[in-house]
Symmetry: C2
């Protein structure tokens, strides 16, 4: 389902090209409250949990202000994707029960299974894309399709 989310994210980044950059940064109701920062948030959260959290790598996540244009955000998404995609592609169910330790903003150490983190990320991106779809209609524009079925992602393996 990561592949599904990545396809949908690419579609949203393409959709953004058809919209005035001012609209992408206009205050909206709900969620993160802006279109471009929502896409930033999706990328940063996925990268932070997988590369920083699970892989325990020292990740350097730029603040939004440093990637605040559509071009920069698209590059940020692509570079995070390049770093974390191998982990996702190598995923197998035996990794579900492995434990990672999340260190919260309050310094608390909270254990999670890899499986819980990965499912959290899947739901997280779909949830925020649902919010984008409402804002898209507010702009009078057709939203990116959220349909998963028919993309051929989970086709018959003959």
């Amino acid at each position: 389902m990561f592949e599904y989310n990545w396809q949908v994210r690419r579609d949203w980044l393409d959709w953004c090209k058809t919209v005035n950059e001012e609209e992408l940064m206009k205050r909206r109701t709900g969620g993160i409250g802006f279109i471009l920062p929502t896409l930033y948030h999706i990328v940063a959260v996925e990268y932070g949990w997988i590369c920083g959290g699970i892989q325990e790598r020292a990740v350097d996540i730029p603040p939004f202000g440093e990637v605040a244009s559509l071009r920069q955000l698209t590059e940020f998404s692509a570079s995070c994707h390049a770093e974390l995609a191998p982990f996702v592609h190598d995923w197998n169910d035996s990794m579900d029960d492995r434990i990672m330790i999340d260190i919260t903003d309050e310094g608390e150490r909270v254990p999670h299974t890899y499986g819980e983190v990965m499912r959290h990320l899947i739901a997280h991106e779909i949830h925020h894309a649902g919010q984008l779809s409402v804002w898209s209609r507010e702009l009078g524009k057709e939203p990116v399709t959220a349909n998963l079925i028919g993309r051929g992602l989970f086709e018959m393996r003959v």
Copy 2:
């Protein structure tokens, strides 16, 4: 992830109790365009695909008008859940590649794997719940949390 969606759906149905029924049926921008019909749509789609589509049972899905109150919709959701939950609970990965035939509104027969249908349903409900969260803020209300992590759904199996 069905358990996650069912928890979130119950939370949204509870949230609806705190809202004027008029607001639940007020025209909104995006998605299905109304709060209560969105929840109906989520339930009907899940029930239709699993019981009607995969299980090939003769399902009788009431039109929205027949379950158009919060109480009726909550009962509709509960009765569909009771019918389809055993299938979901008995799910195992060997069922991923089984084929079901979807008959489209145009009468076309389209094959899908069970795995694709099930993932479609997971994404479908999360997407629409994301839309509900925007409408909730438009009403000035805190939305139901979409966080999957920390629910204990994918805990360590010791």
